[in-house]
């Protein structure tokens, strides 16, 4: 007939039309097979299949498959870490949207912000969300740090993760600070000028020693930050690059390590007797280990050390999916709600176009640096470099100095507990108010002895006096309670109180020429 049987031609496998039928059948099956291939075996419906789903998914695998019941209590974390991460993701998405319209060049930058505000569809809304999420992130990171501290979660084996967390705090502040310049308005311009001056503050010491001509770390820091002598287009493109690329990448990498270490360090911290406090597991859970194991196990030649779960049955844990994921999704959504709500209520600030010839008075750094600026007003070097370094070194050393075990995983755990923290709040706030009030009322060494050499003021100023009071109080606590943890509780609480109080003074009570005013309404009109 038509050569179907001729040598070299393909013989149909089945009856005529079979291939077409199979083709149509396969076409019908595409959605199902796509779902199966993407989700590795379809949507999970049992605890067991959900566990293997979490295990097999690259994003979900950052979580353990099962989560301890203690970790799921709201009071364990108050969801602060997830809040910080959620705020970061919100700034990431809104930030990418803003990048479509933002132009990083002086004056043009300001006009592009005006355009985003006035004519870009939802531009004003997106920018407001970006701004509020960024502020929320700074607050969340600080409060998350306080939570970690007060539940003694930094203790072994989590010391290293505490340091990673400090890196995340610094990166968060860096992201906020670099974003502050981008609108190129008066607020941004003079805030960054203040920031750059803080960077050059080591000159206070090198000038006093007369070696600035040979050794000038302050000038180098300032030059690295601005790329020029003044805040100009070099600084803008530099801040832009840091803000949209380098720092987000650093933060993402650090956050990945941070989350991974939570798993590797045995999950979130919990008290040694958490199981007893939680009570017996739900009725439908049957025990796996009926007696304590006679020996410990480890995976020889694969990993070092004991696995943290040896001897522990899974009775007190719940599948991460759905229990943990609902908790995380709830916090994530709540964060979005707060950011969107604030974005509708208040616009992100935008003042006049930056004008290098008209300084703002007072020129103020972003709010989270106003505590530093208050210290800088006493001594640029101590406020800008000395005391921050002391604080960061102190915070970083805490987990290596506090090797106690009592109170791990409990709020305000350790000797003294909540009473001690309350006392430290009184001491911390009281000392800060007293030192500030004294300096505001009576002035300081320079007012009394105008010819006093600068190194004396660098060493003895309200900032260093306050730091010394805090340090002495903490040492006294160590002695009084015979516990390093007690000293750490006192020191950290004092640090928080000092930060809050100095920030409040810098924000609300400082006016033109950094003079003290009870209210911005009292500022002189010029």
């Amino acid at each position: 007939m038509n050569g179907t049987g001729a040598p070299g031609t393909h013989r149909p496998i089945g009856p005529r039309g079979e291939a077409l039928r199979r083709f149509l059948d396969n076409l019908r099956q595409v959605p199902r097979r796509f779902r199966e291939s993407a989700l590795r075996g379809g949507l999970p419906h049992t605890d067991r299949s959900r566990s293997s789903f979490v295990f097999g998914n690259v994003f979900l695998h950052l979580h353990a498959v099962r989560t301890h019941r203690w970790s799921l209590r709201w009071s364990t974390t108050w969801g602060l870490g997830v809040t910080a991460m959620a705020a970061f993701l919100i700034t990431l998405v809104t930030g990418v949207l803003l990048m479509f319209y933002y132009k990083p060049y002086p004056d043009v930058a300001y006009q592009s912000i005006k355009d985003i505000h006035f004519v870009v569809p939802t531009g004003r809304f997106i920018r407001n969300i970006h701004r509020w999420a960024a502020n929320l992130m700074v607050v969340a990171v600080l409060v998350h740090m306080a939570r970690t501290f007060y539940t003694a979660a930094y203790r072994a084996p989590r010391e290293y993760n505490w340091l990673i967390g400090m890196g995340l705090l610094v990166t968060t502040l860096g992201l906020s600070f670099t974003g502050y310049l981008l609108p190129w308005d008066q607020l941004a311009y003079w805030a960054i000028t203040i920031g750059a001056n803080i960077a050059s503050s080591p000159r206070e010491v090198t000038d006093a020693l007369g070696i600035t001509g040979y050794f000038d770390p302050g000038g180098l820091q300032r030059l690295l930050l601005l790329g020029s002598d003044v805040v100009g287009e070099e600084a803008l493109i530099r801040f832009y690059l840091l803000h949209v690329m380098i720092l987000p990448l650093v933060l993402t990498a650090l956050a990945a390590v941070h989350f991974w270490r939570i798993r590797k360090d045995g999950g979130l911290v919990r008290p040694a007797d958490a199981d007893r406090r939680l009570g017996p597991p739900p009725g439908d859970v049957y025990p796996v280990f009926t007696e304590a194991p006679a020996k410990t196990y480890h995976l020889a030649a694969i990993v070092r050390g004991r696995t943290p779960a040896v001897g522990d049955g899974p009775e007190q844990t719940l599948p991460s999916m759905p229990h943990l994921f609902y908790a995380e999704a709830a916090v994530f959504m709540l964060t979005i709600f707060v950011c969107v709500g604030l974005a509708l209520l208040a616009d992100a600030p935008l003042k006049e176009l930056a004008n290098p010839t008209v300084p703002e008075n007072p020129a103020k750094a972003p709010w989270y640096f106003l505590g530093l600026q208050e210290l800088v007003s006493f001594s640029a070097f101590m406020g800008g470099v000395g005391i921050p370094t002391i604080v960061m070194v102190g915070l970083g050393l805490i987990p290596y100095l506090d090797r106690e075990e009592a109170g791990t995983g409990e709020w305000f755990g350790g000797p003294g507990g909540g009473r001690l923290v309350l006392q430290a709040v009184v001491v911390g706030l009281g000392a800060a108010v007293a030192v500030e009030a004294f300096a505001i009322q009576f002035g300081w060494l320079r007012e009394w002895f105008p010819s006093i050499p600068q190194p004396v003021i660098t060493a003895i100023n309200p900032g260093t006096v306050l730091t010394a009071i805090y340090a002495a109080y903490s040492l006294w606590l160590v002695k009084r309670y015979n516990s390093t943890r007690a000293g750490a509780l006192g020191l950290f609480t004092c640090f928080l109180c000092g930060f809050v109080l100095l920030t409040a003074i810098g924000t609300h009570f400082r006016g033109p020429n950094w003079a003290f005013y009870w209210s911005p309404a009292d500022w002189p009109v010029h």
Partner: protein, 195 residues
């Protein structure tokens, strides 16, 4: 888990509600949309959108014509409705110069308070109506700029004596000499206009 589920439900619904509010603000509650709708209600053939005059040479992007839609290039305008009226003929075409060059204010803004510029952090609000001619000096710095009354009088005199019979002035008037040789009288458009 119940509490977390409930929190997730509530915050999701909350976000949804806020997004609806934002959507309404963005699409229905803008001042300029209301103004353009009034124009449409009065029978003006008008599509509802942002309008602007962009003059790169003068660094001008003026969205004033979003509300003052009668002054937008290509629109007719409604005589008798102040906000929708066409621009009076002053010799300068708004399409070529924009608005803020003469009037001041914030051309990039799209709501009245910000655009008229009497808001915090905007250094150059609109010139009051009676001082509009103070804006002439932003370009004509080298001229002794006459006040508006004198300018009107001069313009009237030019019409009265029919100067335009021979002279050309701002693209009007002037006659060509028969048999070539250019204009009958010199072009007066730029008299005293070059420093």
């Amino acid at each position: 888990m119940r509490a977390n589920k409930l929190l997730l439900l509530c915050s999701s619904l909350g976000v949804l509600a806020l997004l609806v509010v934002a959507m309404a603000q963005e699409n229905f509650l803008k001042e300029w949309r209301r103004i353009q709708m009034t124009a449409q209600a009065r029978g003006e053939e008008l599509d509802s959108r942002l309008r602007q005059i962009v003059v790169p040479a003068l660094h001008v992007s003026d969205r004033c014509v979003t509300c003052h839609v009668g002054m937008a290039p290509g629109e007719q305008g409604l005589v008798g409705v102040p906000i929708l009226a066409p621009h009076p003929n002053v010799g300068h075409d708004p399409a070529a110069f924009g608005c803020t060059i003469c009037h001041g204010g914030q051309g990039r803004a799209t709501d009245q308070a910000d655009a008229h510029g009497a808001v915090p952090f905007w250094p150059s609000p609109m010139l009051p109506r009676e001082f509009t001619s103070a804006g002439c000096g932003s370009c004509h710095t080298h001229l002794r700029v006459p006040d508006l009354a004198q300018l009107r009088q001069g313009q009237a005199l030019i019409e009265q004596y029919d100067c335009l019979a021979c002279h050309r002035l701002n693209q009007r008037g002037g006659t060509l000499r028969p048999g070539g040789g250019g204009m009958e009288g010199p072009d007066l458009s730029r008299v005293e206009a070059t420093g």
